[in-house]
């Protein structure tokens, strides 16, 4: 892998660069901590008698892994990218930086308090991806609000005529997540089966209306920037925005197929799960057509390979989600480890790879410091091979579990059938965690490490307005 590309630096204020660096540094801390937890959990399948204190027990750590990767790692990294991109595409410095810093404090405080309270056994009723107790959620919401406000204020003061498509996506993500969180936090209409309906709505929207929008928005900026050519089609991007916005909120009930939720409600979710192919395939096509004919640029970049894998998993993971929603397949795959494979294909293969690609693309331009080429290559291959092996292991394990149940065998037969693949998953987890350590080293090089070269500033005239 040769990385001899000249390092160009964005013409940014040092304060903007420091803010972006702080978002990525703290996000990286949560990535390391919560995936260490995930790795520990993966070893509890083959070794259930290992680390058996209440504070290291599966039932408590699982929520720390999911919430920490979602709201510590991915939310902070992608919010930081959204703020930085808003300023770049608006041609001005980040507006109201103090509130952006406040947002970062809130995010980290929420992740810290959430991790501690979950480990003490305090959670919001095992409701997946919203286990944090209410006041922790409120702290997190403040983070979302002030990050969103920073993006909106920056875009509002732009000197460019148009609002770039990236900002549509990221602003949408902040707005949707605020509404979603408020809907999900009010307890009065979440009693018994009512809560099941809200949970189906919440857990899917938290992924698809937050991370998907932030990641796609960041891709719409980073990809053309890295390739030095415009996005293939602005119109396809806008189509993706509106179809994702309208279809996605309807599909949540596909998490509760064959449950006592109304049958037509489940069917509606399945129908719109098929509808999701429109934004997914149009988005993928848009990115793929932008990259077409630039294989050599991809090969020479340390950021682009991550975006290529991220887009590939966006396509594969989301299409898989549509297929999984069909009743005939849900009857086998529901309740099995197959869904954990799916969630890693999407939250890791798609969201996390896009976050890495965007960080490798933008952070060196912000700070004027490069990551190590060899370390980037190792990070890429360990993570790519790791997550692929992870998804395959659990897809096989889940299929075997489902088939064992359908065959009418005793329950423990499904445990025995999946056991070898759980070892495979733990091995894959080791590779992924190794990749994260290497990534953390690169983040160090790109932020707080001493400067080793004098980068050139991008030869575009700087436009300034009073912030």
């Amino acid at each position: 892998m040769s990385v001899s590309v000249e390092l160009l630096r964005d013409n940014v204020e040092p304060q903007d660069s420091a803010l972006f660096s702080a978002f990525i540094l703290t996000a990286t801390f949560w990535l390391l901590l919560t995936t260490a937890v995930g790795l520990l959990l993966s070893f509890k399948f083959p070794y259930p008698d290992w680390a058996t204190s209440p504070f290291l027990s599966f039932g408590r750590l699982r929520a720390i892994h999911t919430n920490g990767t979602f709201y510590g790692w991915a939310s902070i990294a992608l919010s930081g990218a959204a703020i930085y991109i808003a300023a770049r595409t608006s041609g001005i410095p980040i507006a109201g930086k103090a509130w952006a810093w406040f947002s970062l404090v809130c995010y980290n405080l929420a992740a810290l308090c959430g991790t501690v309270t979950l480990d003490l056994g305090m959670n919001y009723g095992d409701q997946e991806y919203r286990e944090w107790i209410w006041w922790v959620k409120l702290i997190f919401l403040l983070g979302v609000f002030f990050s969103g406000l920073t993006v909106v204020r920056t875009v509002a003061q732009r000197v460019e005529r148009e609002i770039y498509i990236s900002n549509w996506y990221t602003i949408g993500g902040f707005v949707f997540t605020l509404i979603l969180s408020i809907v999900a936090i009010i307890p009065s209409y979440q009693i018994g089966l009512g809560q099941v309906a809200v949970q189906g709505f919440f857990m899917h929207n938290a992924v698809g209306m937050w991370f998907t929008f932030l990641a796609l928005g960041a891709t719409y900026y980073a990809l053309p920037k890295l390739l030095n050519r415009p996005i293939y089609s602005y119109a396809l991007g806008v189509l993706g925005f509106w179809t994702n916005l309208v279809f996605y909120p309807i599909i949540g009930a596909h998490h509760f197929e064959y449950s006592p939720l109304p049958w037509w409600f489940q069917t509606l979710a399945i129908v719109f799960s098929v509808g999701m192919l429109v934004p997914v395939w149009s988005g993928t096509a848009n990115f793929a057509l932008t990259m077409r004919g630039h294989g050599e640029t991809v090969r020479r970049s340390y950021a682009l390979p991550f975006i290529v894998v991220g887009v590939a998993y966006y396509f594969l993971g989301s299409t898989q989600g549509t297929i999984e929603a069909f009743r005939s397949l849900q009857s086998i795959w529901h309740f099995t480890n197959y869904t954990i494979g799916h969630s890693h294909a999407t939250m890791y293969g798609f969201i996390t790879f896009i976050a890495w690609g965007v960080i490798y693309a933008l952070l060196p331009r912000a700070t004027g410091k490069r990551p190590s080429a060899i370390a980037s290559g190792m990070h890429f291959w360990f993570a790519t091979i790791g997550v692929t092996f992870y998804v395959i292991s659990l897809s096989v394990a889940g299929t075997l579990q489902g088939l064992t149940w359908a065959a009418g065998n005793p329950f423990i037969a499904s445990v025995d059938a999946a056991a070898p693949y759980w070892v495979g998953r733990a091995v894959a987890g080791c590779l992924m965690f190794l990749a994260h350590i290497i990534f953390a080293y690169n983040v160090y090089l790109m932020t707080i490490a001493p400067r080793t070269e004098t980068p050139k500033y991008e030869p575009t005239p700087r436009k300034t307005v009073s912030a």
Partner: protein, 191 residues
């Protein structure tokens, strides 16, 4: 494209807000008013406390409480119906079965002793089980008091000396598990 950022903010908020009401709030309100299945009893304070332990320890991440109307689920009981969950807040339907469904576990495994042994060490009763041990729900005493709930264990799974005594947490949790009994349906179709 649009030159005013607030148009994007307001337009996306209106569209999504509408969908959130239609797909989240309204179903929540309607289904929160589901009446209980005939004969279903609310939890006793002891069972409710046990349920809180169940939630606190994250049992739901491996055990569903949702019998689907599918052949492979009938081993767990009759298919769950809406009214079965009238007293279940937070809901614990779950979406993973690393362990079996517990909707009807009170009928399927009525032995409290089995439940205690299983919580102390699942592998004492199910050799290949991967369930974690919940040793912190028990205390090991040199000598048990007369009122203590002492857990009988095979020699291989017993500490070398002392008695294993269930704490109140363990007793409440087992009370909750024992309370998980499906109410038979009174319909013309039942055979």
């Amino acid at each position: 494209m649009n030159r005013n950022v607030w148009t994007i903010v307001v337009a996306s908020a209106v569209v999504y807000g509408l969908l959130a009401v239609l797909m989240g709030v309204v179903p929540g309100i309607v289904l929160s008013n589901t009446s209980p299945t005939e004969g279903l009893q609310p939890y006793t304070p002891e069972e409710q406390r046990g349920r809180d332990i169940y939630v606190s320890e994250g049992c739901e991440y491996c055990h569903t409480q949702n019998v689907r109307p599918l052949k492979q689920d009938l081993v767990f009981g009759r298919p769950s119906i809406a009214g079965d969950y009238a007293y279940d807040t937070p809901e614990l339907l779950g979406d993973h079965r690393n362990g079996p469904d517990l909707t009807n576990i009170g009928n399927r495994q009525p032995s409290q002793t089995w439940q205690y042994i299983h919580l102390w060490n699942p592998r004492a009763v199910v050799h290949d089980s991967i369930m974690p041990r919940y040793t912190w729900l028990f205390t090991v005493k040199p000598k048990a008091d007369p009122n203590d709930v002492v857990i009988p264990l095979p020699a291989a799974f017993r500490p070398s000396h002392g008695a294993i005594v269930a704490t109140r947490d363990a007793q409440d949790l087992v009370a909750y598990l024992e309370s998980l009994k499906q109410v038979p349906l009174k319909t013309k179709a039942s055979k």
